[in-house]
Assembly symmetry: C2
Homo-oligomer: 151 residues x 2
DNA sequence: TATTGTTATACTCTATAACTATA
DNA sequence: TATAGTTATAGAGTATAACAATA
């Protein structure tokens, strides 16, 4: 059996045309060099996303941060604990609503981000060079629009 | 500090224009209903990808399967062991090269895939209806081309 | 009562390396 | 020597639920 059992069934697209699989495979292609970069800093993808979101959007509460960084709140709780111990960010209770805690990047966290700026830019430029700047913009537009679909 | 520390630095794009983050967020949007579907079958995303790839591309060795399903070979070894016990697939030693083992879907595995065909189609059609069929095709083209970049 | 965040549990994936069998 | 797959381990994320504090 070397042929799919439903070559053109309406139920499934080819896996290369399955959006979830295509997104994952594309991401694997992109993440290779970025993982190499991050592993040199003792930081992983998840912590990196937390720092990037905070650096970009400023201090925010954890529920919002979890959503922006694509993490469960319970995963974020654990991650923030170690990042706070590493002095990459700080938390303070929201004075207006004391259930909330507001997370901010520290100078040390910002430093870590910005130290990677040149290498990050180089990685993206290399990718853009091979893929095409126009198509890169097109792709980012489509991904952003897709993400905004959800209610 | 409610502004990013580098609003237009060359090193970083906005996270919504960061390809790795944009790919992840878009995937989260898409996977919601699919996870609901799979959880009713006692199967997870990884097993689902393994079945989809095998069903589409036919029997193949594990190294190739791992690459196609975006899994590490060591993760695949464990997954295949339970899937074989569940009679979703079978393995046989390659007679030409006895280091290799060839993995095939069983009838039961194919059944499981095809049982989800209508619901899977409905999920994709609903998404396409909101996102636009043309843009969906465009997006899949770009993702496929991006994935093929890798040497 | 509902929300924010924490903790706990069980399961799974990742990353790495050492190991075997075969080539 | 190199390759295909297995096993072991440590670390981390996922999914879920129960929980405390606050609203």
């Amino acid at each position: 059996m070397n042929q799919p059992s439903h070559p053109d069934s309406p139920g499934f697209r080819r896996t290369s045309r399955s959006l979830p699989i295509a997104l994952l495979r594309a991401r694997e292609t992109v993440m290779g060099p970025i993982r190499d970069m991050l592993s040199q800093s003792g930081i992983n993808e998840q912590k990196w996303r937390v720092l990037r979101v905070l650096d970009e959007e400023g201090p925010m509460e954890q529920t919002a941060l979890a959503a922006r960084a694509c993490l469960l709140l319970s995963s974020l709780t654990r991650i923030l604990k170690t990042m706070e111990a590493e002095d990459l960010l700080s938390r303070r209770v929201d004075s207006a609503d004391r259930r909330k805690s507001i997370v901010s990047v520290t100078d040390r966290g910002r430093d870590l981000i910005h130290r990677h700026s040149p290498e990050s830019a180089a990685i993206m430029q290399r990718l853009e060079g091979r893929f095409g700047a126009d198509r890169m913009e097109q792709l980012l537009d489509l991904l952003e629009e897709l993400h905004e679909l959800e209610p």
